[in-house]
Structure formats: structure tokens, C-alpha cells
Amino acid sequence: MDEKEIIVCRCEEVTLSELELTAATYNCSARELKLRTRAGMGFCGGRTCRTMIEAFGIDKREKNRNQVTLKYQAPVRPVPFGKLGGKTP
């Protein structure tokens, strides 16, 4: 990867040019962009880059103000399997 590249998703190291190329090639939504590139799918759950990924999709805000572009889902923080549902191991 070129050192001058701009990383957008820090967890998965997805770059700005990669996102631009994918968005241009597929003319896709932010969600599809996320699924194609893994941007926003890393350890942090997209908390750091989600506002940036949202800015790319064809579904930009104007028509979609009443729906979150990238869905939130549980668990909202990584949880060890041993801790799911309670009880310390």
C-alpha cells in the first residue's frame, strides 16, 4: 500500500481510494460499500469510521434522513463468548 494513501477504516485498513473506486464501480449504497470493502466491519464496530462510510453511498442523506445508513446491531461492544448472557467463568 502506498504510504501516501489515506486509510479510512483503521481497523481493516481500508483506504479512501479503495472506497472511491468501489463506490464508482458499483454505484452502491453505503451498506453495500461496507460489505464489499469490510470498511466499518472491524474490531471497533465502525464507531470510528461510520460517519465517513455514510458519506460515500448513493443513499446519501437527503432522501434517507429517517433511516440510519449503516444499521446498528448487538453486541455493540465485542464480548467474549464465555461472558454472553452473564456469569463470570
Partner: protein, 111 residues
């Protein structure tokens, strides 16, 4: 990095109990219950892990638990955030390393 001993508004940094812990086997002294990241920074250590695929160095980014960039292994438990895990005497902290079995970089042709 230095600690801010005197602050014009917040006042003097009072004497606090210090503890020692290890970071990648290096012995570190810090103030009890301050976050791992603060204790390491006070000892001029910024790099907390290397990226799993590219091995690029990473340190704290958000410092309040949102970004998980500072994740380290604490007493054998992975994925602990150095920015909000208080240090205790004898704690064993290890940085994250590049995975032994990296994946190909497919980013050039996946589109």
C-alpha cells in the same frame, strides 16, 4: 512523556501510590488505577500494538473506549482497552502482534 505536576487551575498532582506492571516483559512504574495507556505514555511508550495484517504500529486514538485501537492483552485476556483499564500491581500487559498467518491483500482486485 512527562506528567503534568503543576497545573494553574487544576493544581498540584498529589502524591499517589505507585505500582509496577509489565508491558511486553518490560517493567513499568505507574500510578495505581490510572489507565494502562496513561502509565505507558508517562514512560514514553506510544505503541500499544501492531496491526494484525500489516504490522503497522498503533497507539491510543480516542482514549475513551470507542475506537479499540489501544487493545492489549491483560493477564492473558485479549482485547482489553488500555485507555480504560486501570493498572494494578503485578499486572501483565502484552501488545498485539501481527497474525502469524496473514491473508493476501485482495484489496487491489476485489472490486
Amino acid at each position: 512523556m512527562t506528567r503534568i505536576e503543576n497545573h494553574p487551575i487544576l493544581g498540584k498532582l498529589g502524591r499517589k501510590k505507585t505500582v509496577t506492571f509489565t508491558f511486553d516483559n518490560q517493567i513499568i512504574r505507574g500510578v495505581e488505577n490510572e489507565p494502562i495507556a496513561a502509565a505507558l505514555l508517562a514512560n514514553s511508550i506510544r505503541t500499544l500494538r501492531n496491526h494484525e495484517e500489516t504490522a503497522k504500529p498503533r497507539g491510543i486514538y480516542c482514549n475513551i473506549g470507542h475506537c479499540f485501537e489501544c487493545r492489549v492483552t491483560v493477564n492473558g485476556i485479549q482485547g482489553k482497552r488500555a485507555c480504560l483499564t486501570p493498572i494494578k500491581e503485578g499486572m501483565i500487559v502484552q501488545s498485539g502482534k501481527r497474525f502469524a498467518t496473514p491473508v493476501r491483500d485482495w484489496s487491489g482486485n476485489h472490486v
